[in-house]
């Protein structure tokens, strides 16, 4: 009998590890050129903005932007970055003995399934725009359920562009599902604190791991609560407030899809939320917000927990060395407040 893994969307999936071929080595380009291309893109944007008022500036802005973008894409292509990231994620699944599924390329020429989907109307029946790349159905259902945790928002560093799905168990045998997206970021102009990671690596190039983890609670909370980033302008006065100033400053708390409209319904849901957000839950989440910049959705008996971490190095061997610890620690942190919510 094959082993099954818990999944927040379909209940259970059979254990499977999609194999990924060893990628070609690619051509190593010095980090300096990537930083230069990144700065050109940034400068190009600024100069193009100035071009709104002084049209001549566009002669400088547009070429800077184009050269920078082509440079970034070209360096990634020559280095075979996508292939190496897939390989890295596959190695991660192997090391942790997690079930694994990598998302295929969004290039329609390389992805037959997506190409077929592109010729069909959208889910709501409307026709697709020419050149529109459809979303993978597996990613679509994640967006449909917890889109708040994936999309861009003020206060969020990057969006979560999913590269692979994982199914595993924590050290205390809590089954979880995880989606991971890896992006390379140029930290040349970033704050000094972003140039060093938690593992002692320092550098202007970093691999950022965007992670979304889900697991099931032992009870149904009866609510769908969202704990998202608080607005950069300060603490919102319109969300739910707990007893902690620090927690309220860090999280914008709301109940989505409210059941019933009477004051009694609202009170019951508020009580259910407070029960889930016990003092120990809040204290743990304050700590995790500092570590992983977390956001979460408590959807009935399922917790969706999103955050990010980084490894400051452009060397794949160093990233590969840390990625197992990073993801395992993230999964452990996701369930660290489980019994407090229960």
């Amino acid at each position: 009998m094959s082993k099954t893994m818990w999944d927040p969307f379909v209940g259970e999936v059979d254990f499977h590890q999609q194999s990924v071929a060893n990628p070609r080595e690619g051509i190593e380009i010095p980090d300096f050129f990537r930083s230069l291309a990144g700065v050109l893109v940034l400068a190009g944007f600024v100069i193009c903005f100035v071009g709104i008022f002084y049209r001549d500036a566009l002669w400088l802005g547009v070429p800077s932007l184009c050269i920078g973008l082509v440079g970034l894409l070209g360096i990634d292509h020559l280095n075979n970055k996508d292939g190496k990231i897939r390989w890295l994620l596959y190695q991660l699944a192997e090391a942790n003995r997690w079930a694994f599924e990598v998302l295929p390329s969004t290039n329609l020429q390389k992805n037959e399934a997506l190409k077929r989907l592109a010729n069909q109307p959208r889910e709501n029946g409307s026709a697709r725009q020419p050149g529109e790349i459809p979303m993978d159905p597996r990613v679509r259902r994640v967006y449909d359920r917890v889109g708040d945790l994936l999309t861009g928002k003020v206060g969020r560093v990057t969006v979560l562009d999913i590269d692979a799905f994982f199914w595993g168990e924590t050290r205390k045998s809590v089954p979880f599902w995880m989606a991971i997206g890896v992006v390379q970021a140029d930290m040349t102009l970033a704050a000094p604190s972003l140039k060093t990671d938690a593992y002692g690596n320092t550098g202007n190039q970093a691999y950022m791991l965007q992670m979304l983890c889900a697991y099931r609670l032992d009870r149904d909370t009866g609510i769908r609560a969202r704990l998202l980033h608080e607005s950069v302008t300060g603490e919102s006065r319109h969300d739910f407030q707990t007893e902690s100033i620090d927690f309220n400053r860090k999280f914008n708390i709301s109940i989505a899809d409210r059941k019933g409209n009477t004051p009694e319904d609202a009170d019951a849901q508020y009580q259910a939320l407070l029960q889930a957000l016990s003092p120990a839950t809040q204290a743990t989440l304050i700590e995790l917000k500092r570590k992983y910049d977390v956001q979460l959705v408590i959807d009935g008996d399922t917790v969706f927990y999103a955050g990010w971490d980084k490894v400051n190095s452009s060397d794949f061997s160093i990233v590969a060395e840390h990625i197992v610890t990073v993801t395992e620690a993230f999964a452990e942190s996701a369930v660290s407040f489980k019994h407090f919510v229960e």
Partner: protein, 197 residues
């Protein structure tokens, strides 16, 4: 023109006063709310203790001194809660924690005492309550810190002096309780120490 300037200045001062005063009142309310959170958890601990003592009494008949010291510390803690003084509560709860630690230490040396499911369950509930107390204390101290920062910084300190707001005292912990407080940071074991952002 002069009148308009005076009116604008007056409105600005009045607006600033209202903003600062409301900010101080909100922060003070959060400090009180945080204290109530601690009280709820402490009361829960007090309610668990008689059941634990009764369950352990038969097995520890020859060591009744430990149980009596727990009950005495509990009754002092209850009296301190009724009194409401933060320092008194702090001292009485530290004494209760110390008495409970004595019990835990004894059961570790004599595991047959905790062989019954009932005592194991009560001990687990007590540990969970200790976690919640430690967390409540951290949240309360965070609120006190935010309030005290306001009371001592410009321009809030002008209003604080006028309206009689005074810095609050944090709920301190002794060395033995620090062990309980540092419990939830399991992820530190994976080399994730320190803030990274």
């Amino acid at each position: 023109m002069t009148l308009l300037t005076v009116l604008i200045l007056f409105a600005a001062v009045l607006g600033g006063y209202v903003y600062c005063y409301n900010g101080l009142v909100n922060s003070k309310l959060k400090v009180d709310e945080g204290w109530s959170g601690i009280i709820v958890q402490l009361k829960r601990r007090h309610e668990l203790i008689p059941n634990l003592v009764n369950a352990a009494r038969t097995a520890m008949s020859h060591e009744s001194g430990i149980l009596e010291s727990i009950l005495e510390a509990r009754s002092n803690a209850l009296a301190a809660l009724a009194d409401g003084n933060h320092d008194t509560v702090n001292e009485a709860e530290a004494a209760l924690t110390s008495a409970l630690n004595g019990f835990v230490g004894y059961t570790e040396d004599n595991p047959e005492i905790t062989a019954t499911d009932n005592i194991q369950l009560l001990q687990r509930q007590l540990e969970e309550t200790e976690d919640q107390i430690a967390a409540s204390r951290r949240l309360f101290n965070g609120n006190v810190q935010a309030f005290n920062t306001k009371v001592m910084s410009i321009p809030w300190n002008f209003i604080a002096n006028m309206k009689g707001f005074r810095p609050e005292t944090m709920f301190e912990v002794d060395a033995t309780e620090m062990v309980t407080i540092s419990k939830p940071t399991d992820i530190a074991a994976l080399g994730m120490d320190g803030d990274r952002r």
